[in-house]
């Protein structure tokens, strides 16, 4: 792809810890991507509306509060409802291994757990983005 990859980094729910989201946003910027960062306290509806208007290639969500099982699938569901089928959905945060399978089945393509290097995420995005 000879245009920058557009990535939405979102913090769904009430969790206020944004160190990870901010570090990733910067790393993606340094890897040549255009990063739209929504800030805190996003509802699934807001995230999806943003993804649509910004026509992003990737939606990346970060949750450390344990509310991922409710919020991640909700975002995937809403994207589907709006006919958005060409976006790579990924997530990260404090997510127990046990929950990962369920999230993948709900449409989150990959989960990045604590300790994952940003270089791995960048590689993953570049290899898995769906659009040209």
């Amino acid at each position: 792809m000879n245009r920058p990859i557009r990535v939405l980094i979102a913090k769904p729910g009430l969790d206020g810890h944004d160190r990870g989201a901010k570090v990733i946003a910067r790393a993606l910027r340094d890897a040549g991507m255009e990063v739209i960062y929504t800030g805190l306290r996003q509802t699934p509806e807001q995230i999806v509306a943003t993804a649509v208007q910004e026509d992003v290639d990737v939606v990346g969500m970060s949750i450390l509060s344990g509310a991922h099982n409710h919020l991640f699938p909700r975002v995937a569901e809403l994207l589907k409802e709006q006919g958005v089928d060409d976006v790579l959905i990924i997530g990260g945060g404090v997510i127990p291994d046990d929950d990962i399978q369920g999230l993948k089945e709900a449409g989150i393509k990959e989960i990045f757990t604590p300790g994952t290097e940003t270089s791995k995420m960048i590689e993953y995005i570049k290899n898995n983005v769906q659009r040209q």
């Binding site: 245009r3 920058p4 946003a25 910067r26 993606l28 910027r29 340094d30 890897a31 040549g32 991507m33 255009e34 990063v35 739209i36 960062y37 929504t38 800030g39 996003q42 509806e45 807001q46 509306a49 943003t50 649509v52 208007q53 910004e54 026509d55 709006q82 006919g83 958005v84």
Partner: protein, 313 residues
């Protein structure tokens, strides 16, 4: 999706189609041209407001409040928020939306973030076309929000009908930072965070600089606002409307639009000409060898120019 389909959908209010069209004009020049040709007849209705000023002035928060005020009156508002692209990596963090996120769900609002992608002048090269799409989609006010600190970032003049220059007290440089170029492009000066100490002094300084600027048919108003508290917003929106009224009544609106269109056409011609010359002359290599000739005093720059231009003459 075929672009014609997208245009049809966009015209009836489909935000996803609108977004995809903006992506297309940003990335695919040939498609962009087709799209713009298709939508041209639907454009020309929007009033374009430029919001510019130094970083930290609170432009995004101000934009958010202006949009809310306009929407409450029944308008449809589009926003293009522009942030600088890193010259090293080609990437950017487009963070202006953060202060507008409760507008994300408003059906009458469309917000799009763009990186400058190496284009100097404070805007993205594709801002104009993105704007046309929003115009065609029925957003009757379109706000372009961008950083403008120096004389180079004034491309906003070529696009906007009304330019709001946002200043903030005590950012350090005060009168030094008020360079001549900026003073001339502001149609309205908004002093934000005016609840802070120093706001009055900033207002005085701005007025002083305005006094020194010759050739004004209309003296730009200086409005004090506190965007975070929603103070002064109604007054500012009023001034924006007054300005548009003034432009129309004085004939300047037509004049500006015509000038901007002229500039646009000329830019397009220049770009095409450059493409023609480059494609016909294998310029990279030829230029390298010609430059050596110039250095060796065998030729001068004008001779080389003429040789290149033989293609089109």
């Amino acid at each position: 999706m075929e672009y014609k389909q997208l245009v049809e959908k966009m015209l009836i209010g489909d935000k996803r189609a609108c977004a995809k069209l903006i992506t297309a004009v940003e990335n695919e020049p040939e498609k962009a041209e087709k799209i713009i040709r298709e939508i041209h007849q639907y454009t020309g209705n929007a009033h374009i407001i430029g919001i510019t000023g130094p970083p930290g002035a609170g432009k995004s928060t101000l934009t958010d409040k202006i949009v809310k005020a306009l929407v409450s009156e029944g308008n449809k508002v589009g926003v293009i928020a522009i942030d600088p692209t890193s010259p090293y990596s080609g990437g950017s963090i487009l963070g202006d939306r953060i202060r507008m996120q409760d507008l994300a769900l408003n059906p009458d609002v469309f917000i799009r973030s763009m990186g400058t992608r190496g284009y100097l002048g404070g805007l993205s090269k594709y801002t104009k076309n993105a704007l046309k799409i929003l115009d065609a989609a029925g957003y009757n006010y379109i706000i372009i929000e961008t950083v403008g600190v120096g004389q180079s970032e004034v491309d906003i003049v070529k696009i906007a009908d009304t330019i709001v220059m946002v200043m903030v007290p005590g950012l350090g440089d005060d009168i030094q930072s008020i360079k001549a170029g900026i003073m001339e492009i502001g149609d309205i000066f908004a002093i934000n965070k005016s609840d802070l100490f120093g706001a009055d002094r900033t207002a005085v300084e701005v007025n002083m600089m305005l006094d020194l600027t010759m050739d004004m048919d209309r003296r730009p108003p200086v409005v004090k606002v506190v965007a975070a508290n929603n103070e002064g917003i109604d007054e500012l929106v009023n001034e924006i409307k007054e300005h548009i009224k003034y432009l129309k009544e004085s004939g300047k609106f037509e004049e500006r639009r015509k000038n901007n269109l002229k500039l646009e056409v000329v830019e397009l011609i220049e770009e095409e000409l450059r493409k023609i010359v480059i494609s016909h002359t294998d310029s990279e290599n030829k230029l390298d060898s010609e430059v050596i000739e110039i250095l060796n005093k065998n030729k001068n720059v004008y001779e080389v120019r003429d040789e290149f231009l033989k293609v089109i003459k």
